[in-house]
Each structure stands twice: as C-alpha cells, then as structure tokens.
C-alpha cells in the first residue's frame, strides 16, 4: 500500500511481528510440527522412547487387531450417535420451550446450563454415585417395592457406554440449548406472524420453516458436538476407568494408556493418528461446504 521504499521489509511493522511470535510458534511448532512428528513416529517401532526405526504400517496392523481398540471404536460410535441425536433433539426442544415468551426464562436457562460449568470429572463422579446399584437409583426403586428392578449400566458391560452417555448428555445439552436459542432468536418475528396468519400449526412452522432457516446454527452445533465426541476421555476415566473390563474404553484413553503406562509409544502414536484421521474426515467436508463454496460465489 505505501509507496515509500524502506530499507528492509522485515522490520516494517516490527512490533506486530514480535507480538505475534507466540502465535507463530504455537501454529508452526506445536500444531504443525507436533502433528507431523506424531504421524511420522506412528510408522516406527518406538517403545519406551521415540526412535526413528521405521516399520511401515505395523503399528496400524497391530492396532486394528487389538480387541481393546476395536471396543474403543465401537464405543465411540455408539456414544457419538447418542450424543449427536439426543443433544440435538433435547437441546432444540428445550430452546423451543424457552422461546415461548415464558416467565422465569432466566431461571430455567440457568438450571439447564449449570452442568456445563462442571468438569467431566465431577460429572462422571456424580453419575457414578447415582448409578451405583447398591445405593443409587436401582436401590431406591427396589426399596419402593419393585424388587426385580435392574438398572446398573456401569456394572453391565453390554450397556455401560449408555450409562456414560447419560452423564454426557446431562452435562452438555445446556450448551446446545443455548446455541439453538440464539438461533431461534435470530429468526425474524415476521416469519412467525406470516405463518400464524396462514394458519400453519406451530409444530409445522418449526419443522418446515424455522429449522431449515437455522441450517447454519445446526451445522455449527454439529461440528461442536462432533469435536467433543472424539475428545471424550475424562468422563470415562472418572465414571468407570474403562471398566468393567475393557467394556467402556475409548480411543483417547487408549492413546494415553499406551503412551504413559504401557510404554508402547508407537501404538499410542498410531492410535492418535487414527483419531486425527477421524476428525479430518468430519472437518474437511464441512470446511469445504462452508468456506469452499463461499470463495467460488
């Protein structure tokens, strides 16, 4: 822009460049460098220490033939499907209810959102207590007279992941509700008036007019939920520690355990690279739809 020739381009705007050093280092060294490093070392047979002895895809072969990893992936898929469907549905319904010009809206919103302020550790421990078969909900119902009642998801390996999902939904739906509510408030009041004049029932207005109009909000929410699903770790550690047996293991826990306990770094790197791959599969199409289209238009 400026036509005057300075002695060196490098020193122009020097303060801004100096101030950006932390950002540049983080972007290049940690994000790009760290990721490349992990992917590179996932092709080695590093055990206790990282070592550049390449073994091709061996770690990946071993990974996909380990039952613990397969269980982790299966759990992640179930947990992911439940999180996506239920947090979208419950979050939207709560937002729609709060959007009816009700009294005490702030109170209700505060109640629905407070679990989100709590950590996954706290969430996991509370639900571990509530779902405790000897003292929790199962015991209470049995004491009421229904003695054959059984509800012990955390001790039953076939349904343990659902027990974890309940806790995750309790913690996270408030956030989705808030995002949806913001989306609903962004809809023009005239749309509602027009629908009312035309005599369209409210549920039809929501389903066929409002929800399609909220597409950007839904996409953002979807990306947020998806990013959260892959990261799930603390909740499982607190609630079940992966048990009973390996029934509630998740990929993030597999990575941590192999890196810092089993001292099998190669496996940890390969597993984390698979996690990265799953995120790429979700994010790239979304980024392409969101930003690729805009550039062309």
């Amino acid at each position: 822009m400026s036509s005057s020739q300075r002695p060196s381009k490098l020193f122009r705007n020097l303060n801004a460049k100096v101030a950006s050093i932390p950002m540049i280092l983080t972007a290049l060294v940690v994000f790009v460098g760290g990721t490349a490093w992990t992917v590179l070392y996932s092709f080695t047979n590093s055990k206790l220490l990282p070592r550049l002895h390449f073994v091709g895809l061996d770690q990946y072969h071993r990974l996909w033939s380990t039952s613990r990893w397969l269980v982790s992936i299966e759990n992640l898929l179930i947990y992911g499907a439940i999180s996506l469907v239920f947090s979208l549905v419950i979050g939207f319904l709560l937002a729609a209810l709060l959007d009816q010009k009700i009294r005490f809206e702030d109170t209700f919103r505060t109640i629905f959102l407070y679990p989100f302020a709590l950590s996954f550790i706290v969430t996991g421990l509370v639900w571990q207590w509530l779902l405790n078969p000897d003292f929790g909900i199962q015991r209470v119902v049995r004491d009421l007279g229904w003695t054959s009642f059984s509800f012990d998801p955390l001790y039953n390996s076939s349904i343990v992941i659902y027990g974890i999902s309940i806790a995750a939904l309790w913690q996270g739906t408030g956030l989705i509700m808030c995002l949806m509510l913001a989306g609903l408030r962004g809809i023009d009041e005239d749309i509602w008036k027009a629908a009312r004049v035309d005599g369209i029932p409210m549920w039809k207005t929501y389903l066929f007019i409002v929800i399609p109009m909220m597409r950007p909000v839904f996409i953002t929410t979807l990306v947020i939920i998806a990013a959260g699903i892959v990261k799930v770790y603390d909740l499982v550690v607190a609630q079940t520690s992966g048990g009973p047996g390996i029934a509630s293991e998740v990929p993030a826990k597999y990575v941590y355990d192999y890196m810092f306990f089993a001292q099998n770094l190669g496996q940890g790197f390969a597993a984390s690279t698979m996690m990265l791959l799953s995120v790429v599969i979700v994010i790239v199409p979304w980024a392409y739809l969101e930003f690729g289209g805009r550039k062309r238009g």
Partner: protein, 310 residues
C-alpha cells in the same frame, strides 16, 4: 407467544373498551398450553437439578445413614465432617492432606494461565485486527484449524519440548501448555472484537503519534473490558476443569484439583466413604459453579464465543 384466538379476543376486548371495564385483559394462567409448557420445563429442571441435590444431601450424611437410607432423602442428622475430611485429611496414595493441596495447586495453575493466555491472545488478536503483516492470516488459519486437532496427537511432542527446556512436570510447564491450547479460541475472540471497533479510533491515535503498544494499552485495553471479562470466565472454568493436561504434565505433588479428586474417589484401597467423595466432588465443582452463577449472561456469551470455533 400469543396464539390466534387470543389475538382476536384482544380486538374484541378493545371494541368493548368504550363501555366495559378497563385494565388489562385477564389471562388464563392454567390454559392447557401453559400446563404442558411449564410442566415439561419443571420436569426437565428437576432432572437437571437432581444430581446437584443428591451430591449435597449425600455429603451431609454420615456413612451409616447412607448405607440404610435412600440417596434422595434429606439427611436426618446433618454432619459437616465429610467436608472437613475431604478438604483436610482424605488420602491419595501416601499423602493424606486432603483436597486442599489440589485446590492450591489449581489456584497456582489457573491464575497465571489465565493471565498469560489472555495477555498473549489479546495482543495477537490486536495485531491481527489492526497491524496486519504479510503472512499473519496464514498463521491465524493454522491456529484455528489446530483447534480441531485432538489433543492426543500433540501431547507427546509437547512432553519432549518441555523436557528439553527442563520444565516438564512443573507448574510453569502446565501454564505454558494451557496458554498454547487456549490461544486459538481466545485469539479469535479478541480479533473479532477488535475488528468490530471503529477504524477511525485507531487512525486518530496513529495520527497523534501513538505506536503499537501505546494504542493497545491506552485505547484498546480500556475500551474492551467486556470481552476481557468473557475471556476470563472462559479460561477460569476451562483451566480449572482440565484433567488431561494436569495428569500428563504435572507430578503427583503438583496435581491440580480435578486429578486429585479422581484419585481420591477412584482409589481402590480402603473403605469407600461416599459422603467424603461427594463433599470432595462439590468442593472441586464449586469454583466454576460460583463463576457461573455470578457471571450469568456473560458466561453464556463466553461459551457461545468459545463454542463457535470455526
């Protein structure tokens, strides 16, 4: 929201106004719609509040009462002993000085992490908004894309970097890690805020001879306090609630509160004291809960900003 029937009733009432009684139209409080609406909301509210209630109630009971009674029943005999024990004498491994150590560790982690991450990110955002240099946007895009990379991918390289510098296992190391991973979202937050400020302000200051730091400290900083509050809320809750970085980058004597809590509750040795566990759980959740209840709408703004990462 007013439905069609009540709208027409409203015009009718207005027509009758000339002769009839004045004042607002009486509302049907117990209409079927209201019963359904508030009924659903109250049921959901009870569901969301129940775990908090059970936590508090359990923490105030003695162990015999817990074994005999119902988790939902209020305590017959209120005791604060579990709280004292959770804070001061609960054991993790060989240490028996309770959660207090974890609490102070968390304070020593959270305070500098919040300050450092916000200082770095606000200056970054300011440089990106007002002092753009060639290539700046490229780094910014990498930073934002990096926010989506699972932490597990970058954990180990950071261990090596910290070990090389000689701060692996120290609180300093953890503070740096928190500053790094807080950077994408905070930088985005500040960049967007500074970009929305009037350009004339910045130009006028430049004409008056203010430089990079002068404008930041004397104009941008005082004018953007709300966004700083949002950033502080976001970071305090986020860093306080962190578990993964705490467990990876600190040693047992510097464990943050969340890690210590998990160790206390999930330790296999000894008799399980559920009341102590619940007291410890509440104590750990207390800081973010207080931040949440005090900050109110700003918290919502913070998470909305924090959530919209793309």
């Amino acid at each position: 929201m007013v439905d069609v029937a009540s709208l027409s009733a409203g015009t009718e009432a207005r027509r009758r106004d000339a002769a009839g009684p004045s004042g607002p139209r009486p509302r049907h409080v117990l209409s079927r719609r209201n019963i359904f609406l508030y009924g659903t909301l109250i049921v959901m509210a009870v569901y969301y509040l129940l775990p908090l209630y059970v936590m508090i109630v359990t923490s105030l009971k003695g162990m015999p009462e817990i074994r005999l009674g119902n988790i939902f029943s209020p305590p017959v005999e209120i005791t604060f002993e579990p709280w004292v024990k959770a804070w001061a004498t609960a054991c993790t491994g060989l240490n028996c000085d309770g959660l207090s150590r974890g609490f102070w560790n968390s304070v020593r982690i959270t305070v500098p992490s919040v300050l450092l991450s916000i200082a770095i990110a606000s200056v970054n955002g300011y440089a990106l908004a007002n002092w753009r240099f060639k290539g700046a946007d490229t780094f910014f895009v990498i930073l934002i894309v990096g926010a989506f990379i699972p932490y597990q991918v970058m954990i180990y390289p950071i261990v090596i970097i910290l070990r090389e510098i000689g701060i692996y296992g120290t609180l300093t190391g953890l503070v740096i890690v928190h500053s790094i991973f807080g950077m994408p979202i905070l930088t985005l937050l500040f960049r967007n805020y500074f970009t929305s400020m009037p350009e004339e302000l910045f130009r006028a200051a430049r004409v008056d001879g203010a430089g990079f730091w002068g404008i930041y400290l004397r104009i941008m900083l005082p004018m953007s306090l709300p966004i700083f509050v949002v950033a502080i809320i976001l970071q305090v809750t986020g860093i306080w609630n962190d578990f993964l970085f705490g467990v990876v980058y600190t040693r047992p004597d510097t464990y943050p509160m969340t890690v210590q809590l998990n160790n206390i509750v999930n330790s296999v040795q000894g008799v399980k004291e559920y009341n102590v566990n619940m007291a410890a759980t509440i104590l750990t959740g207390l800081v973010p809960l207080i931040v949440y209840f005090i900050s109110g709408k700003l918290f919502v703004r913070g998470i909305a900003a924090g959530a919209v990462k793309g």
